[in-house]
Symmetry: C2
Subunit: 517 residues, 2 copies
């Protein structure tokens, strides 16, 4: 079991100033593998309000139904389970989804990493922070916006590995568009496995790519281990409103059959893909997720699922998605409460924004989502770091700013120290009115652990800041990611396992008609 | 009574598209005079934790005491009330402050504006948003950072008047350093009175300046009205740790005697002015505020007070204050809960940050404070808009960004509409799986009121943003404040009252030895 204490807090055992300084600058291994919250969650609706939303979701499932498209087997499974099938429309009796999920889906589960110290516990009071996902573009200050490549993908895996504030390597952090679509999943999954030892996500763009992910995991972890443990968490998106398509159903089936976890996640721009109101959006999201999670239980009872939502509002002028606004925050709090009532882990949040660059808009919007996700009790936070442009672009500088925020989330969720040291009455007695606490015993004793230290904020005077070049936040972040990449050291791996992975990939790639790779 | 509905929400009665568009672009009069929250507050500590902090504060007051410096009358008043006086040290028996406050201080009160539609209710479920306060410098994109002038002060009063998202004109928005220190309060108070009709704050830099503020209010509102109503709220800062100085005590006495409100507010950089821990900082802030608020009740039982805190953390490297960090957020939640338990209005929060410019750091930090202040249940939020550089600079562009955030706070606190229209089940029935909601009846019916609309965010595509000049948030905000100043129209005032105010100021200024003004 890894050290569960956040390293910015008390609880370390001495070792002197030099040891403490070494620890402060020590590599990622000193981080916590995940956060366990010590403060309550926030909720916006009471029991009556939440019941209303739940009932509306059940009404949607029974009266309107959900379409499972292009998968006759899925329709047959639903029919056997007791749903009414009309073409591809699946109308599900009230309560059936809830029963299927509550009968078998785990309330929380462990996703194993190849380094056991990095195993994450998903669900309950735990929070796992995960990089952003899915951008075709990347952006940095020097090269601007451009299509992502495998090198960018590798860079972000390295950066996520190098920070103690992300617990997970993520999945499609950005799309390596320099690689052919039908083979790039091998390189992405291999990058997560080789460049990091944190847990990772699998490919979902086709059932056979999901199977490749599982097969690679078997090479990495051993076949028996994968049969008995969850080592992959993957993102399965609904097509809101109320559609699960063949690709996503197919990938979900592969993962669920193999006892691997799925984030069953409506992706919804309210106003376009759901009604323009918070209560309706929450009910629809819940209905979609219920159908997807229940289907996973039909595939394999007990398959780990995460109730996911991605909800943004919409600009009524342009139809563009908008982020960091109040309505998605309200949806987030409602849906988080529904997940707790259902008894499954919850995914939402992230540093969402529609900023084109890592400026004030991007930051306000990202903070507005991150802070509420923190208080809502999100268990698995995809898109924690890097997201720009509504997810179209992965920003190097934005990534650095967001992991700084992730560090603050660690501190906040660690709650209030009410020990005698935390109360510090003796320090107030010692100092007394009108004096300062800078040199008092208590301050010196707690110097190393007092207050979150931002890596990117400039707290100097205006004059000092100007003398230092008057850099903006993005310019400071630029230096940080370059240093992190420069300092990156690849985690060790058994050379035989590495060779086996590469051999697997080689053989699979060669089996494709177009054998270029 | 003004329309209490937020204009971005439902509840308006028809009038057609043109009328609705006119309303959307209508001047400030369409805003709400203040927010009344419809969602719960968030708390980090339970009953046991809060009691511990309260007991520690009482211990501090009784054992260590608070200094009331340079005011023999104040010491005598405390002695009469039952405190132990040792020099300027006032040791207050446990429970005495609480009793004095709970026996007489109002749980909430109305601050009247010269336009009664802008009266604000301070306390309870209400939230009043107020501009930033106290900067010697201002900053805008063209002229950079410079000392503030009366013109800047007037500009910010105009801007605060022009937005529906600030309910109050504030106080020393910035220091007009082009005016002599001993007379500038006349011009500041007059600016609030003449350029705005929202409620305002008074001068606190000397007791006689507080008296001038009260006397000007009597000219504006009439003497009898001021005797019977609160028309001024002023900021009285403690010198943490545990000192109330003669200037602040003197100003407080003037306001309390005149039944005018004081924000009794420790200003604390934790680590320097309180211990480095959250629990100790909260206890000390509470002790300081208890002493100040109880003293106001000694001056005049029933004098309206607001329990204020300004709490930042400190960079342990440089000693500089830091903002938007987790520790002050935790302090904020604790102290807000203590204020509710005590039964007085609470002030904290704001768009605090130590950014030198309105970039990502400033925005992350501001959002991190604004969102938590919103959830904590702050009643009076000084520093809502404009703050930069730890309060040293008032930013024109930052002001625009922050009032956008203030608008979002309105929406969030309006909560979730659970009406049939909010549930929108018929819309989901009408659209069905796989379609979109853009043109459905429900969307069209709610088009005007759906979703918060940011004035400063760019939600367009990257290509459109680039075609529009690729402006960053500050550049967009720059255009907005200029347009707002250009469109500003001074609210009407009775010319006789205006002349009386100017005559009062002229006469008072001429009474000074250095009669230049």
């Amino acid at each position: 079991m890894a050290d569960r204490k956040h390293r910015g807090r008390t609880g370390r055992s001495g070792g002197g100033r030099a040891a403490k300084q070494a620890e402060r600058s020590a590599p990622v291994t000193k981080g916590v593998p995940y956060i366990t919250r010590k403060v309550p969650v926030y909720e916006v609706l009471d029991e009556e309000g939440l019941s209303l939303i739940e009932n509306n979701a059940e009404t949607i499932l029974q009266e309107i139904g959900v379409e499972f498209r292009g998968d006759a087997e899925a329709l047959q499974m639903w029919k056997t389970a007791g749903a009414d099938i009309d073409g591809e429309r699946v109308r599900i009796p009230k309560g059936l989804c809830k029963k299927l999920i509550q009968d078998s889906a785990p309330a929380e589960f462990t996703q194993h990493a190849r380094n056991p110290e990095r195993n994450v516990r998903i669900g309950g009071k735990n929070m796992v922070l995960v990089p952003a996902y899915g951008s075709p573009f990347v952006r940095d200050l020097e090269k601007g916006r451009r299509y992502a490549t495998l090198e960018d993908f590798q860079n972000f895996v390295k950066l996520a590995y190098s920070t103690p504030y992300l617990h997970h390597s993520g999945g499609t952090i950005c799309e390596p568009v320099d690689l052919p679509v039908n083979k790039r999943h091998f390189d992405m999954v291999y990058t997560h496995m080789r460049y990091s030892d944190k847990p990772f996500m699998g490919s979902v763009t086709a059932p056979e790519r999901a199977q490749d992910t599982v097969d690679m995991a078997k090479v990495l972890f051993g076949e028996e281990f994968v049969q008995n443990n969850t080592v992959i968490t993957s993102l399965i998106n609904a097509n809101s409103p109320l559609v699960w398509d063949a690709t996503m159903i197919g990938a979900l089936k592969v993962y669920a059959l193999n006892n691997q976890a799925c984030v069953v996640s409506p992706f919804c721009i309210a106003g376009a893909m759901s009604p323009v109101t918070v209560a309706a959006t929450a009910a629809q999201l819940y209905a979609e997720a219920l159908a997807g999670m229940a289907f996973a239980q039909l595939v394999r009872p007990g398959a780990p699922v995460i109730f996911g939502t991605f909800s943004s509002s919409m600009s009524m002028q342009s139809g563009a998605p908008t982020f960091g606004t109040p309505e998605p925050q309200l949806v987030l709090y409602i849906v988080a409460a529904l997940a707790r009532r259902l008894g499954v882990p919850f995914r939402s949040g992230g540093g969402l924004n529609s900023g084109k660059i890592a400026d004030a808009q991007a930051a306000y919007e990202a903070a507005n989502t991150l802070q509420h996700a923190m208080l809502a009790g999100v268990n698995f936070m995809l898109h924690t770091a890097g997201w720009l442009e509504g997810g179209l672009s992965m920003g190097y500088e934005k990534f650095i700013m967001d992991i700084d925020q992730a560090g603050m989330i660690h501190e906040f969720l660690n709650g209030v120290d009410l020990s005698e040291n935390g109360q510090a009455l003796d320090a107030i007695r010692e100092v007394g009115p009108g004096k300062h606490f800078l040199g008092c015993d208590h301050t010196r004793a707690n110097f190393e652990t007092a207050f979150f230290r931002s890596s990117v904020a400039d707290n100097n005077s205006f004059e000092q800041w100007e003398a230092d070049g008057g850099l903006d936040t993005a310019q400071r972040a630029n230096k940080i990611w370059k240093k992190m990449l420069n300092d990156y050291e690849m985690p060790p791996i058994d050379p035989a396992v590495d060779e086996a992975l590469l051999a697997f990939i080689r053989q699979r790639k060669e089996s494709f008609p177009d054998a270029n790779y």
